[in-house]
């Protein structure tokens, strides 16, 4: 028992845990923000997982061919936008079942990345190592005790994630466009009567979700690692959806929930590596399932209650 208390204390007093919380949360925050944008306008987007995967692959592909990771980021984003556009086209113009369309896009993303991986890099599993986006070096700040190791050398994606929250919150709650997004998501008929183009606003929401989710995916591949591996998103798109739900479809709420998930994962990883616990390798599987179980508990509403936009997931067919 004592060694567990000691191990937990070790984790919480080590700056690595806090830095890891930030880096684990980053892709979740970005993808959750994508979910917020799409669902605020009334289109469910479970394809986040697939969009992230395409963003991750595009990032590596662009960086591989140009040697410049920023072009990789651009290509990853483009792939994500294209996927989101497909989802928007099917679900807005053709009133497709959004859940099934999303599932199709997840499969499509797995197929395309798997196919292209073999075709471009000659073997399944993982790509070559490519250049990743350089970290933001805060110079002498790194030497500040405790905070230096946390913030001194973070990926620009981390800053991007928090910037996206501020951007999203201002856009959705403080601008005319945001008001339109919310009205289209809650009552498309009324919005239509007031002269708002329901379809265009929904296209905007879904396509923005492609942008954010692709950034989240790109972080996984060219954020630090510099490599793409098969299905590297590993359910993060779904965890981001859960974060959006507990966050009550609100950017700040979604960010807080993402941070919670990030912290849980970071804690998990750090605790396992505490040598005083002397864990057998097999326990990694027990630890591994914890974030998914937390997600289950959370979507079941055992922690707080939240409410989706009224018209979320319902196609709008103009009379």
């Amino acid at each position: 028992m004592n060694e567990w208390i000691q191990a937990i204390l070790n984790v919480f007093t080590n700056p690595t845990f806090y830095k890891s919380t930030l880096t684990q949360s980053t892709p979740l925050i970005l993808a959750a923000m994508g979910g917020v944008f799409s669902e605020t306008t009334g289109v469910t987007n479970i394809a986040l997982e697939g969009i992230m995967l395409m963003g991750a692959f595009g990032g590596v592909m662009g960086s591989y061919f140009t040697g410049n990771p920023w072009y990789g980021l651009a290509l990853g984003t483009f792939f994500g936008l294209a996927m989101a556009a497909l989802h928007a086209w099917a679900s807005i113009k053709y009133g497709a079942d959004q859940i099934i369309s999303g599932t199709a896009l997840i499969l499509l993303a797995q197929g395309i990345t798997g196919f292209a991986l073999v075709e471009l890099f000659g073997q399944p599993g993982s790509t070559d190592l490519v250049r990743s986006i350089p970290l933001v070096d805060l110079g002498s700040f790194k030497d500040v005790p405790f905070f230096g190791p946390i913030f001194g050398n973070l990926s620009p994606f981390v800053y991007m994630a928090f910037a996206s929250v501020i951007f999203g919150w201002i856009l959705i709650y403080k601008t005319k466009l945001g008001l339109r997004m919310r009205s289209v998501g809650n009552n498309p008929e009324a919005a239509d009567t007031l002269g708002i183009n329901v379809y265009n606003v929904r296209y905007f929401g879904v396509i923005m979700s492609g942008l954010f989710a692709a950034l989240g995916g790109a972080y996984l591949s060219i954020g630090e690692l510099g490599q793409f591996t098969t299905n590297m998103t590993n359910g993060r798109g779904f965890i981001a959806l859960a974060a959006m739900i507990i966050g009550n479809w609100n950017p700040v709420g979604a960010m807080s929930a993402s941070l919670l998930f990030g912290a849980a994962t970071a804690f998990n990883n750090q605790l396992q590596s505490q040598s005083i616990l002397n864990l057998s390798t097999n326990t990694q599987y027990i630890f591994g399932m914890i974030p998914y179980i937390i997600t289950l508990i959370v979507v079941a509403g055992f922690i707080g209650k939240s409410r989706a936009p009224s018209a979320d997931g319902i196609p709008y067919i103009k009379e």
């Binding site: 369309s101 199709a104 499969l107 197929g111 196919f115 979507v299």
Partner: protein, 350 residues
């Protein structure tokens, strides 16, 4: 049944066109990477039907896919999207394998039903968690079943790397008792045709009867069609959501059982594979109809079996996943196909 009416049904046409369009798009992809699609499709066809081994392999792949297809299709009937067949396959297989190691002293007519019941109960219980969370906690079954897939995978990894581990090589469980294994019909080389195929065929009939001829089927369909009207008519939504998920999960669990008792003789490696997602494609192509699902399962198993040969011909077999993605997309957005058809009809009239 009126065959002509059945074949010209709008839904059937949408399924067939979705498959056709996806194969054409895949052919375009092959042309883009500089491969001849005719050669690749010929290789695929040969890989699926060209030899006796291929046909046996194909049938053995189709057997569990019929079951996962029926599982997802039954969920759709109740208005539920069971995206978690994979997890239910895994839990069902694990329980079957566990029970299978205990029944060594029993005769086959006891041990075989016991392992099958274990697998069905395992899958049903795993799916019922999602059903309960949906019915009484309002959690969307897509997210919960996906999460349960991950949890099931971790549980299986833990178990076959620890308490229920057989030594050496790939993570696997100890082998099950001989009396619990299904006999083979025939063997060609290293491939065997197991009697598990009859389990799948029986399941088609059972599900057909449940849907068309029983109160359970009627209530589940009513809830799927219009939950509020069903409730007004005295049918409990909550009870039927849990029940429908449990039946769906039992079918997926049984798919796991067939792999344990008819293919590996134990729980073996990543046994779930892509059966769950294949089940979604199959249920959608089969339009949730048991016979349609059986045919669609055979289509998908043929593509999967042939894809190895296609890969040898130079086309990565992940193309199969792309094809499935396009099919699902087109069935989901079936108005795309309807619009094209209406436009063509108008042009023909003009």
């Amino acid at each position: 049944m009126n065959v002509k009416k059945y074949l010209l049904n709008e839904k059937v046409i949408i399924s067939l066109l979705s498959v056709l369009i996806s194969l054409v798009i895949a052919a375009i992809v092959m042309i883009v990477i500089g491969k001849n699609p005719l050669v690749a499709y010929a290789a695929l066809f040969y890989g699926a039907f060209g030899t006796k081994e291929a046909i046996i392999d194909n049938l053995m792949k189709a057997s569990p896919l019929i079951l996962t297809g029926l599982a997802v299709g039954f969920g759709f009937r109740a208005g539920l999207f069971n995206i978690g067949a994979n997890g239910q396959v895994i839990i069902g297989a694990l329980l079957s394998a566990y029970v299978g190691t205990l029944v060594g002293s029993y005769p086959f007519f006891l041990s075989i039903p016991l392992v099958m019941i274990a697998g069905m109960l395992g899958g049903a219980a795993w799916a019922a968690i999602a059903g309960w969370l949906k019915a009484y906690r309002g959690a969307h079954e897509v997210i919960t079943t996906i999460m349960l897939n991950y949890v099931a995978t971790f549980i299986a990894n833990y178990v076959v790397n620890g308490p229920f581990q057989a030594p050496g090589g790939v993570p696997k469980s100890p082998s099950i008792a001989y009396s619990a294994q299904f006999p083979n019909i025939m063997s060609v080389g290293a491939t065997s045709l197991s009697t598990i195929i009859f389990v799948s065929l029986a399941a088609i009939v059972v599900i057909y009867v449940i849907i068309q001829r029983t109160t359970i089927g009627y209530e589940v369909k009513a809830v799927g069609f219009n939950p509020y009207a069903a409730e007004y008519g005295g049918i409990s939504i909550g009870k039927n959501v849990v029940l429908a998920m449990a039946i769906s999960g039992a079918l997926a669990g049984l798919a796991g059982t067939t792999q344990v008792v008819g293919v590996y003789g134990r729980y073996f490696g990543a046994l779930g594979g892509s059966m769950g997602f294949d089940g979604i494609t199959i249920a959608l192509i089969g339009q949730n109809d048991p016979i349609g699902i059986a045919l669609a399962a055979f289509l998908i198993s043929s593509i999967r079996t042939g894809s190895n040969q296609m890969q040898i011909a130079g086309v990565p077999k992940d193309l199969v996943v792309i094809i499935q993605g396009i099919i699902i997309f087109l069935v989901a957005a079936n108005r795309i196909i309807k619009t094209i058809r209406i436009r063509r009809r108008k042009e023909a009239e003009a």
